[in-house]
């Protein structure tokens, strides 16, 4: 177990290293990306430009720049933005995390519940018209471009029907949990739903197909033969075993979302989360923030993979003993 974890950690570090190097190289290979001129300001004299270049170390070999940036990011922890000078990168990321966590946790709760209901219901109702209806609803959810859906939701709740049925919808943006659970949840309600619509469909479909598959398994027939109720067969046997693959999926998605994959939702709903930070840093071409965001995101993706493996072992005793 420890060897396994060690190997995984080593692999993760390698992956993170590779990503950071790639980001660094790509950044500096892009024409116009040289931060010196942007830092120096409009129509700066060449002397000023050189001065800025020297003071930021942009005139040094690229591997030294890389080393310096990594040192500032991980050892001194005082890496500052190229754009918002003096703005430290790490606090920016840590401030964005609660927003993303709030968004993703809430959305995940909704989509998991929704997917459970939809998946179990579709399984129980297979053979009837309800099953395909649920599935098609799910497919539609999967097929809507999330930023488009977000914009349309905004159009309806913030503009078209804002004076009538959606008068209670607060303006876009994030309100911290410390301002009260009510306002917090109300501000996040539509972002939650928008994000959840996408994933609920996927999860319901995966769950349903797993469950239908398991309904043909011997152990489900055995469970029926034991004379236990159909609901119990569905929930304790079929659903319980089907959850394994859903959890795997969930771990990966959740990791990616926490890492900033909710970018489009955050942008559309004006939530200052990690995704929005990543987006802003990309549009600003602000290398320190890009690097911090990307490493943070990769860490979560890799970490989620790792967690999923552990969770998998916990859910599936067969894996545990291997």
């Amino acid at each position: 177990m420890w060897r396994f974890a060690g190997k995984r950690a080593l692999a993760a570090v390698l992956v993170l290293f590779a990503i950071s190097v790639l980001v660094f190289l790509i950044f500096f290979a892009t024409p116009g990306s040289d931060p010196a001129a942007r830092i120096a300001g409009r129509n700066a004299s060449q002397e000023t430009l050189d001065q800025v270049r020297a003071s930021f170390g942009f005139d040094r070999p690229i591997w030294i720049q890389y080393g310096l940036m990594m040192r500032h990011l991980f050892i001194d922890r005082d890496l500052t933005s190229f754009v918002n000078r003096g703005a430290q990168v790490i606090p920016q990321v840590t401030q964005a995390i609660p927003v993303t966590l709030s968004l993703v946790f809430g959305a995940a709760l909704i989509w998991v519940l929704l997917a459970l209901v939809m998946g179990v219901w579709a399984t129980a109702a297979r053979g009837t018209a309800i099953d395909p209806i649920i599935l098609i609803l799910g497919v539609i959810g999967v097929s809507l471009p999330v930023f488009w859906l977000g914009e349309v939701v905004n159009l309806i709740t913030q503009s078209r029907l804002h004076d009538s049925i959606f008068a209670w919808v607060p303006p876009l943006g994030y309100v911290p949990l410390s301002d009260g659970v009510g306002p917090w949840a109300l501000h996040l309600l539509f972002p939650w739903l928008t994000l959840a619509v996408l994933y609920a469909g996927i999860y319901a479909r995966v769950l349903r197909s797993e469950m239908v598959q398991s309904m043909n398994e011997d152990y489900v027939r055995m469970a029926r033969a034991k004379g236990i109720g159909e609901t119990r067969v569905l929930l304790r046997h079929s659903l319980r075993t089907s959850l394994i693959s859903v959890v795997t999926l969930f771990g990966l998605d959740f990791g990616a979302l926490i890492g900033g994959a909710a970018l489009l939702t955050e942008v559309v709903f004006g939530l200052q989360g990690v995704g929005k930070l990543t987006y802003d840093s990309l549009t600003n071409f602000d290398l320190p923030v890009i690097l911090a965001c990307v490493l943070y995101a990769s860490f979560f993706v890799v970490f989620a993979n790792f967690l999923v493996d552990l969770l998998y072992a916990w859910l599936d005793p067969r894996v545990r003993s291997v």
Partner: protein, 586 residues
């Protein structure tokens, strides 16, 4: 409206785009304003327009108090007044920092006048226009409680170089000792350049050559006076004490900037640094512009920095008309054409573009004729040196009437460049992209194989400057730093502004005409004796430039300020735009 540019071109790095803006006279509203400023400048010969007294309205204590809430999509980077080069924060610095001189804090065209601020008076330049002696007002304290002394002034000028201020090499390189400071900022002394006499309370500034525009340069925030112990590097988001009516209390670029009254402030000159009305000013960042517009509509915030999105314009222009203020800017949108590579190394090809652009269409893409005015000169309407003229219009006239596609096609044929590939590099925001798309259409019509290349706004501005990138034509904007014709003509098209293979080469056209450069040098020299005289020369240079056609001016934009219902006393300074601290919330 130039703030649309700001907001879109650089989400937070507006620094690229914008600098100070002042307007030497309005466009549509004020042909008289132009006259005023030109007249004012003529008074002290050989110097920027200065004035002593103004008609600043008296303070009305009944409106004092309350919290003013401002919104912006993003903050504007460092808070250091010596480094920040964005309109967004320069607007705020008016209330927090002072220079030896400053632009007058009044509504309208008069705002363009330079008045004494920390100095008791505007000194007459001596020593052949090379020496200025300022006397500091006594009894002024910084917001941290320390007294303002001549040491602070000297240190502040040194600091311009020590922090590599963006304008160090362009505005302040004429100070004696600046050369050494630019080379080795750390040991900058400006020895013999800026000399303080603590006992007499005077500061002497020596220039290497006369600079009639120097007083303007002293009046922008980069020349603001801060305590001598201010850090010798960019202070980032740590506020530096100042002498203004307000001080920065806290700043987080991701969330908010808070300004409160400076406890050590006593009004000394109402036209230079008036006391403000709100007790606190909260500037909040991070909301979308859509949300900000809604918030102002709903009276939840007083004002938003970013230009309202195009699809909300009609709504605020009709439902909220009384809360909207539109002001012309001394700025322009233009298309530099690279005169060193095909097809625009051919003058006919360049002229063809000027003939072909339907400037009305561009105005429409920008938001309609209430928000921009077509131009075909480099100097904006109302600007010193501006003379109504248009070489590329049909029917012929002095203002732009319509494009002549036939003529453009013919010129392209004559130039022999027809069929060549042309890439238009634009910033990837909505307005710029729309203009790029439109130009693609136009260039295709006149015979080129045109394509649009929208790229990230934060890179576009440096990308199009670097000759290495071989940009043929692009869409960009220029906002004045101070009201002098050279700030457009000499800066944008002077030989010195073209630095091959550098990201900082504001002469994007790569245009360098020896004859025209000689004329510009002559005009600059003439400014020492007479701005009027010089401005006539600038007007002629503008015409010649337009004939050479290294760029195609498109329009001069206007600015929308949208205030909430309960916000009063809107004052618009041509130099730094809305006077934030003069707004009433009570």
């Amino acid at each position: 409206m130039n703030r649309r540019v700001l907001a879109t071109v650089g989400l937070t790095t507006s620094a690229l785009v914008l600098a100070a803006c002042s307007s030497g006279g309005g466009s549509s509203t004020s042909s008289s304003a132009a006259a005023t400023s030109a007249g004012a400048s003529a008074v002290p010969s050989g110097s920027a327009s200065v004035g002593a007294s103004g008609d600043v309205p008296a303070f009305q204590p009944e409106h004092q108090g309350g919290t003013l809430t401002l919104l912006a999509k993003a903050a504007a980077g460092t808070l250091d007044p010596k480094v920040n080069y964005t309109l967004q924060f320069w607007q705020l610095y008016q209330a927090t920092y002072d220079g030896l001189t400053s632009f007058k804090k009044v509504n309208g065209a008069d705002s363009f006048t330079v008045v004494p601020d920390l100095a008791t008076a505007i000194p007459e330049a001596t020593n052949g226009g090379k020496t200025y002696v300022f006397t500091l007002r006594p009894g002024i304290k910084f917001s941290d409680g320390t007294d303002l002394t001549t040491d602070d002034v000297v240190a502040s000028f040194q600091r311009i170089f020590k922090v590599s201020s963006p304008t160090a090499g362009s505005f302040y390189n004429g100070i004696v000792g600046a050369d050494a400071c630019l080379k080795t900022p750390a040991s900058c002394t400006l020895d013999g350049g800026v000399v303080g006499d603590k006992a007499a309370g005077t500061v002497t500034i020596n220039l290497t050559a006369p600079d009639p525009e120097f007083l303007y340069k002293l009046s922008v925030p980069h020349a603001a006076i801060n305590p001598k112990n201010a850090p010798e590097k960019d202070a980032g988001n740590v506020p530096i004490p100042g002498t203004g009516a307000y001080m920065f209390k806290s700043y987080d670029p991701n969330t908010s900037l808070v300004m409160v009254r400076n406890p050590n402030f006593k009004e000394w000159a109402r036209d230079a640094q008036p006391q403000g009305y709100p007790d606190e000013i909260d500037y909040k960042f991070g909301q979308t512009v859509e949300a900000a517009v809604t918030a102002v509509e709903n009276n939840q915030a007083n004002w938003l920095f970013d230009p309202p999105p195009a699809d909300r314009l009609a709504e605020i222009g009709s439902k909220f008309a009384s809360q909207v203020h539109v002001n012309p800017l001394t700025a322009y949108w233009y298309m530099p054409m690279n005169v060193n590579i095909p097809p625009f190394n051919n003058i006919k090809a360049r002229q063809a573009v000027n003939w072909a652009i339907d400037r009305n269409a561009m105005v429409k893409l920008y938001g309609g004729d209430k928000l921009a005015q077509p131009v075909c000169t480099i100097l904006p309407p109302g600007f010193p040196g501006y003379e109504e003229s248009c070489q590329y219009t049909t029917p012929a006239g002095t203002t732009w009437q319509g494009a002549d596609l036939a003529k453009a096609k013919q010129l392209v044929q004559e130039s022999g460049t027809a069929g060549q590939e042309v890439a238009i590099v634009v910033s990837d925001d909505e307005v710029n992209k729309a203009m790029g798309e439109y130009m693609q259409s136009v260039l295709t019509q006149i015979g080129y194989k045109a394509s649009v290349k929208p790229i990230s706004g934060n890179i576009q501005f440096t990308y199009i400057q670097n000759s290495k990138n071989k940009v043929q034509i692009s869409v960009t904007q220029w906002y004045q730093d101070y009201p002098a014709a050279s700030d457009f003509l000499n800066v944008l098209l002077g030989c010195a502004s073209f630095v091959p293979n550098s990201d900082s080469s504001i002469n994007m056209a790569g245009f360098c005409d020896k004859g025209l450069q000689a004329k510009m040098d002559e005009a600059l020299k003439t400014e020492q004796t007479s701005f009027d005289e010089a401005n006539k020369m600038w007007a002629a240079i503008d015409k010649e430039m337009m004939t050479a056609s290294p760029q195609a001016p498109i329009f001069t934009p206007k600015l929308i300020d949208f205030l909430s219902k309960d916000t009063g006393n809107y004052q618009f300074s041509k130099q730094f735009y809305m006077l934030v601290d003069q707004l009433w919330v009570k």
